[in-house]
């Protein structure tokens, strides 16, 4: 239900981007002089219209603010508060083949349209301060799809990564992959390694692509890794606990391994073996839109839904 804090976002975007924390930004660092607001916006702009970005601090499951000011790249749509933005968003990009079938097109057209949706989402996440975006590109179960479709998808991944690599570097996007890469074509494996190495110092957005990934296999391989560490005398058997397993999961490459928000498109209500361990306390948002139709409006709806709910991470509010 709407409250009186229904804000209208600032129309213009006069503010520059400053992703990394600015050491001297104790002072007001907003270039608001060119910020023109209409009378409408003056009447309704609340605290959320301010382009303030402060250091995150978690309080009772919500993000609260302390610290310095940096600049937003783009004002958030109305109803969204930047201090409640999720740090890590995971997406199951489902529905591309169905989208193509409805239009009488081959599945390949659906996947290509899906790439455009992904590019838009990466852009929005970068602009709105989301730190990590994990996307489920190809599951280990997908290997059983028709050979032609699988080959097309592998080719598509290669083309997109090769094409976008320079953009990622320019946009400050760091790429990582999770999943069993040994099943991927050698050329794709090589390209993914190259992409990971060349973007490893980028810090604006961490894009994690799950390819040939299975949540259960992730947990099993974590146990295997722990076995190696015990065998090598690095840890004792008694040290094996939940935290250790989490450290060995594929998502340990991320600053925040557990997603705050999971979005699945196409109306399916399942996790489909994606990040099973990591999604324990994630807000689950199931969108009816097919993946190629998932755009800014749908993403805003998911973020609004996330921000409206109080998440307690299993504890009780005192």
């Amino acid at each position: 239900m709407l409250s009186l804090r229904f804000p209208i976002s600032v129309e213009k975007v006069p503010l520059n981007v400053n992703r990394s924390p600015c050491p001297s930004s104790k002072a007001q660092n907003l270039s608001c002089s060119s910020c023109s607001r209409s009378a409408w916006q003056r009447a309704f702009a609340g605290a959320t219209g301010l382009a303030a970005r402060e250091e995150d601090k978690e309080v009772n499951g919500r993000m609260a603010l302390t610290g310095d000011l940096v600049k937003l790249e783009e004002p958030l749509p109305s109803g969204l508060r930047w201090e409640l933005m999720p740090r890590h968003v995971a997406v199951i990009m489902d529905g591309s083949a169905r989208w193509a079938r409805r239009r009488g097109l081959p599945a390949s057209s659906g996947h290509e349209a899906g790439v455009r949706s992904l590019k838009e989402l990466v852009e929005l996440c970068g602009k709105w301060g989301i730190r990590i975006l994990t996307v489920f590109a190809f599951s280990s179960e997908n290997w059983s799809r028709p050979k032609a479709e699988v080959e097309f998808l592998m080719g598509l991944f290669e083309r997109v990564i090769e094409f976008e690599l320079q953009n990622f570097s320019r946009e400050g996007v760091r790429i990582s992959t999770i999943g069993d890469s040994s099943r991927l074509p050698k050329s794709l494996q090589k390209l993914l390694n190259k992409a990971e190495c060349s973007t490893k110092d980028n810090s604006r957005l961490h894009l994690v692509v799950a390819v040939s990934y299975s949540g259960k296999s992730d947990i099993a391989q974590a146990c295997k890794s722990i076995a190696h560490r015990v065998r090598d005398g690095l840890i004792q058997l008694e040290d094996v606990d939940e935290e250790l397993i989490e450290e060995e999961l594929a998502t340990s490459c991320c600053e925040f391994p557990c997603p705050d928000l999971l979005i699945r498109t196409s109306g399916e209500l399942r996790l489909s073996n994606f990040l099973l361990w990591q999604l324990a306390y994630a807000e689950l948002f199931f969108s009816e839109a097919l993946w190629p139709d998932f755009g800014k409006a749908e993403f805003v709806e998911a973020l609004r839904s996330f921000q409206q709910r109080l998440r307690r991470y299993g504890s009780r509010e005192s």
Binding site: A227, L237, L271
Partner: protein, 232 residues
């Protein structure tokens, strides 16, 4: 003057949207009443056989409303669901297991092999789970596999590839007392659309439906959620 006009316009928009949500809520309540009363015929013949295993996640604060939980489980038994798992993060439902079972008819505690033994009978099996059956149990199962691996290694056999498989993990979970089938459908009762740490190993292809807080528990909504699942 203009700011007053804008303020009035804002109040008008707020009113329109509030009315819209109010009407939507009334429509949901009405639909639920119609389903419960049997006016909507399509809900009378649900193919419950498609729903082999149902799990219910209850927010720990809501789990204190034991009467509501008992009502929910009895409804599920009356609908004909054969196997139900009740989960709450803090284990409140586990601790209240005896009270819950005492107040239910045709419901028994879950045991391995119930799927076969309860076929054709009216009895429903009920399992209780909590956080300790989730990540904690996976860590214990990992320990078990690790001990097995170390033992085999000490005998000179390197069985690593054969020990750390998904199938062995499933077995190990059963051995530590946290086995159990993968639910077909998971209903979440709580303020947040989140499964609150339900055993991750069992959620691979489970459909997850958020039902809202337990205080707004309605038979019609429950029946509708199960009906929609059986259609798919």
């Amino acid at each position: 003057m203009s700011s007053l006009a804008i303020h009035l316009l804002w109040l008008l928009i707020h009113l329109v949207i509030s009315i819209f949500f109010f009407v939507l809520k009334i429509a949901n309540v009405l639909e639920s009443y119609l389903i419960s009363s049997g006016f909507l015929k399509k809900y009378e013949s649900i193919n419950v056989g498609k729903l082999r295993y149902l799990a219910v996640v209850v927010d720990s604060e809501d789990a204190l409303q034991i009467n509501k939980v008992i009502k929910l489980v009895q409804w599920l038994a009356d609908i004909g669901v054969k196997h139900v798992c009740l989960y709450d993060n803090e284990g409140i439902l586990k601790k209240s297991k005896d009270i819950i079972l005492k107040n239910l008819s045709c419901v028994k505690l879950f045991e391995e092999g119930d799927e076969q033994s309860l076929r054709g009978k009216k009895t429903m099996s009920l399992e209780f789970a909590s956080q300790s059956d989730g990540k904690e149990a996976l860590a214990k199962a990992a320990n078990l596999l690790l001990k097995k691996h170390l033992k085999l290694r000490s005998l000179g056999e390197n069985q690593e590839e054969k020990i750390f498989t998904e199938a062995h993990m499933t077995e190990a979970l059963r051995a530590v007392g946290s086995g159990g089938p993968e639910p077909d459908l998971l209903l979440v009762y709580g303020p947040v659309r989140c499964h609150l740490g339900f055993p991750a190993w069992r959620l691979r292809y489970t459909e997850i439906v958020h039902m809202g807080p337990l205080k707004s528990l309605k038979y019609g909504s429950l029946l509708k959620a199960i009906y929609k699942f059986t259609l798919g």
